[in-house]
């Protein structure tokens, strides 16, 4: 759907994108994570031609975005809905007028607009606000209207630029749910740019982590979070829980829905014939699936056996570095 090859972009003398390559598949929810100012928004803006790029290629459905002329670019943008951090509604206009705006720009007739606005307000779940002024709405409501407006032209892709970053946690949850719903029901490909890891964990299928204008990690969301590459740790801003300095710390992950793994920890202890220490753990939710992570502390000589056992049970694991000391592995 969207293929990015070696994309570079500079503002004056600062190179913002330093050769980014990735592919976004039709129908998926794709996350682009990174701290502020690493170029992730620029990358997103390149996708609908709001920003130009210097070199490399960015193709949407086989069309090179850079080659589009003004008129073609406008037509192309119809297929690429976009929502923003600050909602970007016409504050003085009503909800109706805001959603109708793109259709008016494309000269739809009044009945079509009427019907479409009502339909879209149903989709985003606020039909009663049709005549409210945009400035009277709460943040979450504004973003819903912005989503409705972005969907007005029946786009194939919805680009979300920090769409939940200005919202409180509850609205964030509601908006991410809405995005997931739109993705499932309407089959629209969603690209999410955010620094909020929860948002990515909750709805994205695959992700990339951008740091310093380059992709530092990519893959399925669950895998990236479990592998915890350095770029992700930098982004999360934490080094994880403090861990014992003696022995080896081993982290493993399993889904709570797998019944046969219910007693995994006990099974592991029995296999090793050793009462290991549990030094950390937690539950994370990935797109509705709950994954349990467990960190245990083992003496060096048992580690190999433990890892082999976990692999045999089909459980993903990794060795963790010990506090601030050198990395094991």
């Amino acid at each position: 759907m969207i293929a990015v090859q070696n994309l570079t972009k500079s503002f004056r003398n600062v190179q913002v994108l330093k050769g980014v390559s990735m592919e976004i598949q039709t129908g998926e929810i794709f996350g682009i994570a990174g701290r502020s100012g690493v170029g992730k928004s620029t990358l997103l803006r390149c996708m609908n031609g709001l920003e130009t790029y210097d070199a490399g290629s960015l193709q949407v459905d086989g069309v090179e975005v850079k080659d589009l002329k003004e008129k073609e670019l406008r037509l192309f943008r119809k297929n690429m809905g976009m929502i923003f951090q600050s909602f970007s509604l016409i504050t003085r206009a009503t909800v109706y007028q805001n959603i109708a705006y793109p259709m008016r720009c494309w000269h739809y007739d009044k009945q079509t607009i009427d019907a479409k606005v009502k339909e879209l307000l149903q989709v985003v779940g606020m039909p009663e606000k049709i005549n409210s002024r945009a400035s009277e709405l709460s943040g979450g409501q504004k973003q819903r209207v912005a989503i409705a407006r972005a969907l007005a032209m029946d786009p194939k892709v919805l680009l979300c630029d920090e769409a939940t970053s200005a919202l409180d946690p509850k609205s964030t949850l509601a908006i991410t749910e809405l995005l997931r719903e739109i993705n499932q029901k309407l089959g629209i490909t969603v690209v999410v740019v955010t620094h909020e890891m929860d948002v990515i964990r909750r709805i994205c299928d695959r992700m990339v982590v951008i740091e310093d204008g380059q992709i530092q990690a990519s893959g399925g969301v669950e895998e990236v979070f479990e592998e915890r590459p350095e770029a992700l740790t930098n982004l999360l801003g934490t080094q994880g829980p403090p861990l014992p300095k003696e022995g080896i710390n081993l982290e493993f992950f399993y889904s709570t829905e797998q019944n046969e793994l219910e007693n995994l920890v006990a099974d592991l202890m029995r296999t090793l014939e050793f009462q290991m220490k549990i030094v950390g753990g937690g539950m994370e939710e990935y797109k509705g699936k709950t994954v349990c992570s467990m960190i245990v502390n083992l003496p060096q000589n048992l580690t190999e056996k433990a890892c082999a056992y976990l692999t045999q049970r089909g459980v993903r694991w990794r060795l963790m570095c010990r506090g601030e000391e050198d990395k094991v592995q």
Binding site: R74, R77, G81, S86, W106, A146
Partner: protein, 221 residues
């Protein structure tokens, strides 16, 4: 004549006709200035440094013109372009003759103020409109101007108040109106009644304008 009799007398003979002249000058100045200034402001916004369709040269020329007109004090401009005024209007005194220079300065003044309101419209909102496939003109009218309506009223208010004052200056060089009455029949004839009546009327005009402007601003916010 008692004081109140003289107030009524001067009021009818001098002040009332002068108020009409002043209102006429202000009305036409603001009308012409707004229409032309509005168009100019759209061009300045469109071609400006952060505009939708930045054109350095066109903007440079327009910007230079606006700055040039704005650099003239009103009194000097009226005098300086009097040959032009004579050519177009046929005379350099009277209502029509002052409306020309005043509306030229009002155009530049209003254009600059409107431009600065237009460029304050949220950049991301303009980007959003672009992302929906809107044309530059659709963004100009549907987003930038739509969002600026209250600001437009406040610009109009400021311009009107400004040009009520400017008409008195124009009055000093043959424009007629309240300024001329206050100067000629008041100050230079040692007639304090006329002078302060004119001052009072100006005070009322400015206050009513400001009040009306504030009311419109709030109504359209």
């Amino acid at each position: 004549m008692t004081f109140w009799e003289s107030v009524v007398y001067y009021g009818q003979r001098l002040i009332a006709p002068a108020v009409l002249v002043t209102l006429q000058i202000v009305f036409f100045t603001i009308l012409i200035g707004f229409v032309l200034g509005f168009a100019l402001a759209i061009l300045l916004t469109l071609y400006g440094p952060n505009g939708l369709n930045h054109k350095r040269k066109v903007y440079g020329v327009l910007n230079f013109l606006v700055n040039t007109v704005r650099s003239f004090p009103i009194l000097i401009l009226i005098v300086a372009i009097s040959p032009l005024t004579r050519m177009i209007v046929g005379t350099t005194i009277g209502v029509k003759a002052v409306i020309l220079p005043l509306s030229i300065t009002a155009t530049a003044f209003i254009a600059r103020l409107l431009e600065s309101s237009f460029i304050k419209v949220d950049k991301q909102l303009i980007e959003a409109a672009k992302s929906l496939g809107a044309t530059n003109m659709q963004i100009m009218w549907g987003v930038i101007i739509k969002e600026s309506v209250p600001a437009i009223f406040s610009v109009l208010t400021m311009a009107t108040v400004n040009y009520i004052a400017a008409t008195t200056i124009a009055g000093a060089v043959g424009g007629g109106g309240l300024g001329a009455v206050a100067l000629t029949y008041g100050y230079q004839s040692f007639n304090d009644t006329v002078l302060y009546m004119a001052v009072l009327v100006m005070f009322l005009l400015v206050n009513v304008t400001q009040y009306l402007g504030d009311w419109l601003y709030k109504k359209f916010l």
